[in-house]
């Protein structure tokens, strides 16, 4: 599954069978090469952060959670939002200083949240290639 497909997907609270919010952004942590969590929009309360560990399931039509109190405050340094921090469609540099971008999408494992591949103009890159996601660019190992 690509992270871009998750944008706008409803978050369903299984205890009340109501929509707790919608996914506004997906936060990726470059160090663990995993999705850290989701930033939500249209939540009923002030908490807009859904940590990946609190997700019950990522389904084709909705992301589910067990209880509404699993939405929390976003911790500092959780990672970069693929939309708000312009990771998708943003600059992609190799550790040799070459521009190989833009980064089109990030494929993740829907079970574990682990990054499976980076989708780049020349094809796909393995998750091990990912070195960092910063304010200026996403950095990957140079494939040459």
């Amino acid at each position: 599954m690509n992270v871009s497909e998750l944008v706008g997907r409803p978050v369903l609270d299984l205890s009340t069978a109501t929509t707790a919010g919608r996914i506004d952004d997906i936060v990726v942590d470059a160090a663990s090469r995993c999705v850290a969590g989701f930033r939500l929009a249209k939540t009923s309360g002030p908490s807009t952060w859904l940590a990946w560990d609190n997700v019950a399931a990522v389904g084709a039509d909705a992301v589910t959670i067990e209880r509404p109190d699993l939405l929390t405050e976003e911790p500092n340094g959780s990672g970069r939002g693929v939309r708000s921090d312009k990771v998708l469609g943003g600059r992609l540099l190799t550790d040799e200083g070459r521009d190989v971008g833009p980064l089109a999408d990030i494929e993740i494992d829907a079970e574990s949240g682990a990054v499976r591949s980076l989708i780049v103009p020349t094809g796909r890159m393995a998750p091990e290639a990912l070195l960092g996601i910063g304010s200026y660019a996403t950095i990957v190992h140079d494939p040459r």
Binding site: D95, E96, G97, D99, I133, I139
Partner: protein
């Protein structure tokens, strides 16, 4: 294949950490003309508040020099340099290039750097005597591995003339051939 860049190509490049954050722009290249080696870079601040930074980036701190960015480790610490130190040992731009047989080749318009190790492998020169149709075109002059002597003029071996290249793309190979030739004759 050698990845060659001109010194002026590096000016304005962002300095980016491997974590993906930009910390500065390259203001100028510091290099040691006698050793034929890039020493580092002076820096400008990024963004709207552009201006010279007191800190410089030392060659040892650089992870890689690429065509799109200068890459540095995520934990890089820029060190403030005392004023006298940071101008390197000289600016060769606009210096004359002479062969050791006393022929003037032209004037230096840029240095050519091997990005793999930061060595200066050649000079971009504006030839002094060119037919009119080639006026203003630059040529690339290879340097021997030991570097060239620089004083009033840069002195290069006369044999380097045979390996002058008119474009940067073919220059990497010209340097290899030139240095092979020097190695064989030595």
């Amino acid at each position: 294949m050698k990845a060659l860049l001109r010194g002026t190509d590096l000016v304005g490049l962002p300095v980016v950490t491997l974590a993906g954050d930009d910390i500065a722009d390259v203001r100028d290249v510091l290099f040691d003309a006698d050793a034929g080696q890039v020493l580092g870079f002076t820096l400008n601040k990024r963004g709207r508040l552009k201006g010279r930074m007191k800190e410089t980036l030392d060659r040892q701190q650089i992870h890689a020099v690429g065509p799109a960015a200068i890459m540095v480790p995520p934990d890089v610490e820029l060190v403030e340099q005392a004023r006298g130190d940071r101008d390197g040992s000289g600016n060769v731009l606009a210096d004359s290039v002479m062969t050791d047989t006393g022929v003037r080749v032209g004037t230096v318009t840029d240095v050519v750097i091997d990005t793999a190790d930061g060595r200066v492998v050649g000079y971009e020169v504006l030839p002094s005597d060119e037919p009119d149709q080639r006026k203003g075109r630059r040529s690339y002059l290879p340097l021997p591995e030991t570097g060239a002597v620089s004083g009033e003029a840069l002195i290069v071996p006369a044999s380097a003339i045979d390996y002058i290249s008119t474009d940067l793309a073919g220059f990497g190979e010209a340097i290899t051939r030139y240095r092979d030739m020097l190695g064989k004759s030595a």
